[in-house]
Amino acid sequence: MYISPPDRPEHMYRRGRAVQPEFSPWELLYFRYGVDEFVDGALAPAAIHLPQSVNRGEFSQPADVLFHPEGKYNGLGVVEFRVEEIPPTSEPGAGIPCKFFMKHLPEEDNYSHSEIWADQVPETGRFWKPGRTARAAFRIKLCRRIRAERIKIQAVKNKDQV
């Protein structure tokens, strides 16, 4: 079981570093999950929403998403997936066309913080929330790729137990 260290790892701090908008398709992303969010070997779509916070692997370690100064996330787990596994667009006919992409949104104490965003096609430059069915299809397509072998740190608790 993961136990958070008392001090935040130094590499998590931003320290004046600039936003890095480019993501490699192979870059790993880390997401915190609870034990019940794995259903029969795959992450449940219920675990994800839009926009969805993750840590980008370029600037972080898997355990960073579980760091909390009071150990609030102790017992939760971490899964990884690649940027290229994010469905790039909504399906034709599923309402207003939209695309999904990564946005680097560093925080002062978590430089790697990023979000999975959505925007209309053509782009507005802002986050745009797709309709219910498009969001559900997106969550299903992403989560069915996140199988048990993508677990980096095994969860032993549910999110409502932290």
Binding site: A47, I48, A136, A137
Partner: protein
């Protein structure tokens, strides 16, 4: 001589000769009784499995009432009364239709998600805090089929049937 244990190891249909003793009348009556018992046991077992799954889902649904904002550690809204009430109705209909869910979870979208799994085939019913309901069927690689439905018993039952057909295909 007919021995009860000998029935257990055999296929469930057919005519059997035990040793050199062949008494069709006795054999058929015992066999019919044995099959009836087995079927009752299987029916009870399936019934209990479904009931256990539904009971567990109801228990989980009750627990979601105490969730607070940010319960998912990512700022998610807890399921509200509307989402929980619709989810409870879905469970009632699932019980009536004898389709047990694999899991009931609070959804990071704000609502309740009910998941179904049969091998590589999966399905979801999600009820949201807005009162919206969606159902989805999908497999490993094909495009998920997602549809919105209203919260009426007819619409939910129809979606449950679609899910059943998908899972059994």
């Amino acid at each position: 001589m007919l021995v009860a244990n000998e029935f257990v190891a055999r296929p469930v249909v057919g005519f059997y000769c035990v040793g050199k003793h062949v008494d069709e009348a006795e054999h058929s009556a015992l066999r019919a009784w044995s099959i009836a018992c087995s079927r009752r046991q299987v029916s009870m077992s399936v019934f209990m499995q479904i009931k256990d799954s539904i009971d567990e889902a109801r228990n989980r649904l009750g627990q979601t009432a105490r969730l607070i904002h940010g319960w998912d550690t990512y700022g998610g809204d807890p399921p509200n009364e509307m989402a929980r009430t619709i989810a409870a109705n879905v469970l009632t209909l699932l019980e009536a239709e004898a389709l047990p869910p694999a899991r009931l979870l609070p959804s990071a979208e704000g609502g309740i998600a009910i998941s179904f799994v049969e091998g590589a085939r999966r399905a979801e019913i999600e009820t949201y805090n807005t009162g919206e309901v969606i159902a989805a069927i999908y497999s490993a690689d094909d495009e998920p089929l997602v549809w919105e439905l209203d919260d009426s018993a007819g619409a939910i039952t129809s979606s449950i049937e679609q899910i059943r057909v998908h899972l059994a295909a």
